[in-house]
């Protein structure tokens, strides 16, 4: 809602400057988004009259003008072809800066002094394209008058961003009421003038009739008839005010309905009475598939939910939304039927949305207009048509009001007001505040007030609404600050604690945390080259996506992660170690709740040396991070990494991650082709783990002290040759399972293929650590276990023990 400051001032007197008013509004809940001065940059332009013109002696195209600007006559040189003696023009004196940034200086043009500039429209910033000559003002302009005043540009406009509960402020009278409530001194609102001279010889009943067929959707419908109107432009002052409020002037009749809409927050519609069959108005629901061509020349198909205004033959308007072309006011129109009505808000809202036709009218109807002021607004418009369209107002008003307004009475407890706001107000003070808001106290008891809410306050339903009004008038910033008393202890949920621990561990392992979009598009999965039946393609689609790129919910964190790594690779950042924890969504079928799982994904690109010398540094870096993570979560014994076959991973370099034998994730190097698709560095590896099981199984803070050994440890190195197909983890398990008494640790420290090792075999070396809690171990004991291990390795894998 754009509120012209001076226009508002015609309804109520207040001592605030535009800036102060702006602040007051914002602090009262009517947020001012912008405060604009319409004549910005034109403040110093004056109106002058050209009193004399001479040809320039030294230039054919230049003229020397004497311009009277009231207090003096100045000489100005111009090349404009349209200068004439006696015309009124905008003048910029020496020292004035134009909106274009041009500063006027005293200059000499071919030897003659110019003491200012006669301006064209483009020089004043009033039009974009270059003007062919100077701007010529109407003769009504006064010499010496400020240009902004004459043009109606001496006006500030406050742009209010109104929340839905401020529907009453969609009209200037409503805003004036808000100003009134702000003022400490009581003040009254100057109501718009209504002085209708009715044509008593011509009662409206002879010209028109109204029938409401659906009272629910149309509780009130009123009309007036204005005869013999002259369609022409509306007066300049009205046009200027409309423009300042952001409405384009059209003709006097349309402008008047818009003007009253802005005053009263009451949409009106003017029909050409000549096009209403028998003057008979019928308000009804449309028939299924009934058609109408609206004012914007579009044919619309309606349904039974739509309320329409009709005559006995045809639809003449979609109620509250837009008129039909067939009854539009045109230059030929002489008689007007003026509609002023109250339509049921929800129905208007649905229709406007269905037809995609939001309008100034529907915007107000769907928020609820003041049903009690319908007639007054109609009368105001009729009066203005009488004055500015030379119309004659027929006698009487047709007012069909089948569902009269019921007074809205709310009970509110004084104790509750004070308790809820944390203040202590006396009853008298509260009453005084309510009075400023035109809320009438109809009954008082010890602790209870019964108040009657004005009909324009359809936002008020219960005591909380009254309490808000009191808080607003009292001033939010005058309410003290306290803290709620509590004995409660705050907690994170179990899941949050574990997730936080995981994030900390991943950070400690050297990975940076990223956040990616969970709203993604099919393009994000394209470069992974997934088969159609891949589980990642079981996504949840958005029914009404803004665009395809944000058309579905992610099923995996990997596309976002890989994309983030690719972004860095493109920017010559070659080493990236990232992780993310977040939710993914799996489609469970139509109208079934999608499965939301929290996952952990991590990626490594360009990690340094590979400890095992297998050109898989990224893979082993991530694996190390995960192993440490599982170790710290005390899950090592439940977790296994086994050869996997994920389609987007390198077939020889991918593992499934199992928890108690059940797959919870994957780890692997991306396929070379996919690495190419994304322009990642070679050997980039990623992992993704579903954390659901982990959230369930991890024990938080479940540590138990174990005696520290007092006796020395003994270590033995063991190197074996074994088939290269045997996974090291199997060998490790075998060793560890051989003894559970004195074998404390088995550490792999070397793996080797090449010289001295036959084709198809590898050498692996372990350090075995033996220790007992109660004694120093003897060589014999240790040798026995080592021999057992050796025997098992030999029999199980035909391993050959390498001499040290």
């Amino acid at each position: 809602m754009q509120v012209p400051y001076n226009w508002l001032k015609t309804y109520i007197d207040f001592p605030y400057t535009p800036k102060e008013l702006s602040h007051k509004f914002t602090m009262a809940g009517l947020e001012v988004e912008n405060l604009e001065y319409l004549g910005k940059g034109l403040e110093d332009i004056k109106i002058g009259k050209i009193v004399e013109i001479d040809n320039h002696p030294n230039a054919d195209k230049l003229k020397i003008c004497k311009v009277d600007i009231g207090d003096k006559v100045l000489q100005m040189i111009t090349g404009a072809p349209n200068v004439r003696v006696d015309i009124k023009v905008p003048v910029a004196e020496v020292g004035v800066t134009l909106p274009t940034g041009m500063e006027i200086e005293e200059t000499k043009l071919r030897g003659k002094v110019s003491e200012g500039m006669i301006c064209s429209k483009d020089e004043l910033g009033l039009q974009e394209e270059r003007a062919s000559g100077i701007m010529i003002l109407p003769d009504t302009a006064q010499v010496g008058e400020r240009f902004v005043e004459f043009q109606g540009l001496d006006e500030y406009v406050l742009d209010l961003d109104l929340t839905p509960n401020y529907a009453r402020c969609l009209g200037l009278l409503g805003i004036a009421r808000e100003v009134k409530a702000m003022l400490a001194e009581p003040s009254e609102i100057d109501k718009p003038k209504i002085e209708i001279k009715e044509d008593r010889s011509d009662p409206i009943e002879d010209k028109a009739a109204i029938k409401i067929e659906d009272e629910e959707l149309c509780p009130r419908y009123a009309g007036r008839v204005i005869k013999d109107v002259k369609i022409k432009p509306s007066p300049m002052w009205m046009q200027r005010r409309l423009k300042a409020a952001g409405i384009r002037p059209i003709n006097n009749i349309v402008d008047i309905t818009n003007y009253v809409l802005l005053e009263y927050n009451q949409p009106l519609h003017a029909f050409d009475l000549g096009n209403i069959k028998d003057g008979k108005i019928i308000v009804r629901r449309a028939k299924e598939n009934e058609k109408v061509i609206t004012l914007d020349e579009v044919e619309r198909t309606l349904d039974q939910e739509t309320l329409v205004i009709t005559d006995p033959e045809k639809i003449i308007a979609v109620a509250g939304v837009m008129g039909a072309e067939n009854s539009e006011v045109t230059r030929k129109t002489t008689d007007i039927f003026l509609e002023a009505a109250y339509f049921e808000p929800t129905s208007i809202r649905r229709t406007a949305r269905k037809l995609g036709l939001p309008s100034e009218a529907s915007h107000r109807f769907e928020r609820g207009v003041d049903i009690k002021r319908v007639i007054e607004a109609g009368n105001r418009a009729a009066y203005l048509m009488q004055q500015y369209a030379e119309g004659t107002v027929a006698k009487g008003v047709l007012d069909n009001y089948p569902l009269p307004y019921q007074d809205n009475i709310i009970e509110v407890s004084l104790a509750k007001i004070n308790r809820l706001l944390g203040i202590s107000l006396e009853k008298d003070k509260i009453e005084e505040m309510l009075k400023r808001l035109e809320i009438e106290v109809v009954k008082k008891a010890e602790d209870l007030l019964k108040v009657k809410v004005p009909s324009y306050r359809n936002d008020m339903e219960q005591d909380a609404d009254v309490i808000e009004e009191i808080a607003r008038i009292y001033g939010y910033n005058n309410i003290p600050t306290t803290r709620p008393k509590t004995n409660e202890v705050g907690q994170r949920t179990r899941k949050q604690k574990i997730e936080k621990q995981i994030k900390n561990l991943m950070n400690s392992a050297g990975l940076d945390e990223i956040i990616t979009f969970s709203l993604t598009g099919p393009q994000d999965y394209k470069d992974l080259m997934l088969p159609d039946d891949h589980r990642y393609k079981n996504w949840v689609s958005i029914k009404n996506p803004l665009n395809k790129a944000f058309g579905l919910l992610r099923t995996s964190l990997l596309p976002g992660l890989i994309d983030s790594m690719a972004t860095n690779a493109k920017r010559q950042i070659e080493e990236v170690k990232y992780f993310e924890t977040g939710r993914t969504f799996l489609n469970q079928g139509h109208r079934k709740r999608p499965l939301e799982n929290t996952k952990l994904a991590a990626g490594s690109m360009g990690a340094g040396q590979d400890i095992w010398d297998q050109d898989a540094s990224d893979f082993y870096y991530l694996k190390g991070a995960l192993e440490e993570l599982f170790a710290r979560l005390d899950l090592t014994d439940q977790i296994e990494f086994v050869r996997g076959d994920e389609v987007f991973m390198h077939p020889g370099r991918t593992a499934d991650i199992l928890y108690k034998g059940v797959k919870i994730g994957v780890l692997g190097e991306l396929k070379p082709k996919i690495i190419d698709n994304y322009d990642l560095k070679d050997r980039t590896a990623v992992t993704e783990i579903d954390l659901t099981t982990i959230f369930e199984e991890v024990k938080i803070g479940d540590y138990l002290f174990e005696m520290l050994p007092k006796y020395p440890a003994v270590d033995r190195d063991l190197a074996i040759k074994i088939s290269e197909d045997v996974p090291v983890m199997e060998v490790l398990n075998l060793i560890n399972n051989t003894d559970d008494t004195i074998l404390k640790e088995t550490e792999l420290f070397d793996i080797y293929q090449g010289e001295q090792i036959p084709e198809g075999q590898k050498s692996i070396a372990f350090k075995l650590l033996f220790q007992a809690l109660d004694r120093t171990l003897t060589d014999q004991e240790v040798n026995e276990v080592v021999n057992n291990i050796v025997n098992k390795l030999e029999s199980e894998y035909e391993a050959e023990i390498r001499k040290k």
Binding site: A464, R472, P484, Q491, R593
Partner: protein, 341 residues
């Protein structure tokens, strides 16, 4: 040459040679030469047979004196040389202490995590628990239970993304309020951080996917002044003790009275600048007393219980606090960006 002369000669020689010893190796050679198994001293002793008996004690004594003298000299010089060597070594081991230390490779927290850790610590301290809820929601939790019936103009305030006619993507974290009231009786004190979704084009200040932090307190005798005090503690923690706060009336369907909270602009300190649209204030969160309809729908009697709720943009906090002017930077994950936090 008799032995005594020889001893004298050796003694002189020894004095000279030990005085000129260069290093420990040379010293060791001297030790072997004189005191070794076949050293000069041993040789003197082996020649004792040639000495007259009456002179034997003298020669023996002199030899022993010489032997001791050599031994002492050796010890003295050894100690000295070793000390010199240690000093030399210390000197040689000097390193450039200005060289950079070894890399530690600890990952960086995401700015979102920095923010939420700070917020969560504050609210845990005030007795709040941390809740969360599903991102896929129903009309009921996202709208109806929050007093936003169908056809309410307030639905225009948020452009909702739908999955089908039953499910939608939550447009705010407020459904967690309802879910918490569903499962827990008052007193309730929670904050709920999470992702939310709106049908917004991605640009410098909008994103279809962003984050919010919700707060809810329900108990007997909770007042608007409690709301103010709690928000004030939050604002001072996150934006600094010196920031001014103002509350102004606003509208949210699920609170009444409702308040928008502004803090004084950090850039211009309240003078007015382009960052705060020349108002001197920056909007940081929305809040209000829980609407009686919301309490009733969740089975609580508004005459017994009251409460307040607040909600804020998590992304926005990060942007304001860290001076980030484009929301997209938060989701782009440039390593150089993350390494700033």
């Amino acid at each position: 040459m008799d032995l005594l002369t020889e001893i004298k000669k050796i003694e002189k020689e020894v004095e000279k040679k030990f005085a000129n010893v260069k290093d420990l190796d040379e010293l060791e050679d001297l030790r072997v030469k004189y005191l070794g198994k076949n050293g000069e001293i041993t040789q003197i002793f082996s020649k004792m047979g040639q000495v007259d008996d009456d002179k034997k004690p003298i020669v023996g004594k002199e030899t022993n004196i010489l032997k001791n003298k050599i031994q002492d000299l050796y010890n003295e010089i050894k100690e000295k040389k070793e000390k010199e060597l240690k000093e030399k070594k210390l000197k040689e081991e000097t390193i450039d202490v200005t060289l950079p230390g070894a890399e530690t490779n600890i990952g960086h927290k995401n700015p979102f995590t920095h923010i939420i850790d700070e917020v969560v610590e504050l609210f845990l301290g005030m007795g709040f628990s941390i809740e969360e809820g599903p991102e896929v929601e129903t009309e009921y939790y996202n709208f109806e239970a929050l007093n936003i019936p169908e056809d309410h103009p307030a639905r225009d305030l948020q452009d909702t993304l739908y999955i089908d006619d039953k499910y939608l993507l939550r447009t705010h974290t407020s459904p967690v309020q309802i879910r918490t009231m569903d499962k827990q009786d008052p007193p309730i004190r929670i904050i709920a951080p999470g992702r939310v979704y709106r049908s917004d084009e991605l640009d410098a200040s909008h994103s279809p996917n962003f984050h919010q932090i919700e707060g809810l307190v329900i108990d007997k005798d909770i007042s608007f002044s409690d709301l103010k005090g709690t928000i004030e503690a939050f604002v001072h923690q996150m934006y600094g003790e010196d920031r001014e706060i103002r509350f102004r009336p606003s509208y949210f369907p699920f609170t009444e009275p409702s308040a928008e909270v502004d803090v004084s602009c950090n850039v211009c300190e309240g003078e007015g600048c382009s960052f705060c649209s020349y108002t001197g204030w920056v909007e940081v969160l929305g809040s209000g007393m829980v609407h009686p309809n919301v309490l009733k729908m969740s089975g609580l009697d508004p005459d017994v219980y009251s409460g307040f709720a607040f909600g804020m943009g998590w992304d926005r906090i990060a942007m304001l606090k860290y001076d980030i002017n484009d929301i997209r930077v938060l989701y782009e994950n440039d390593k150089r960006f993350i390494h700033q936090f």
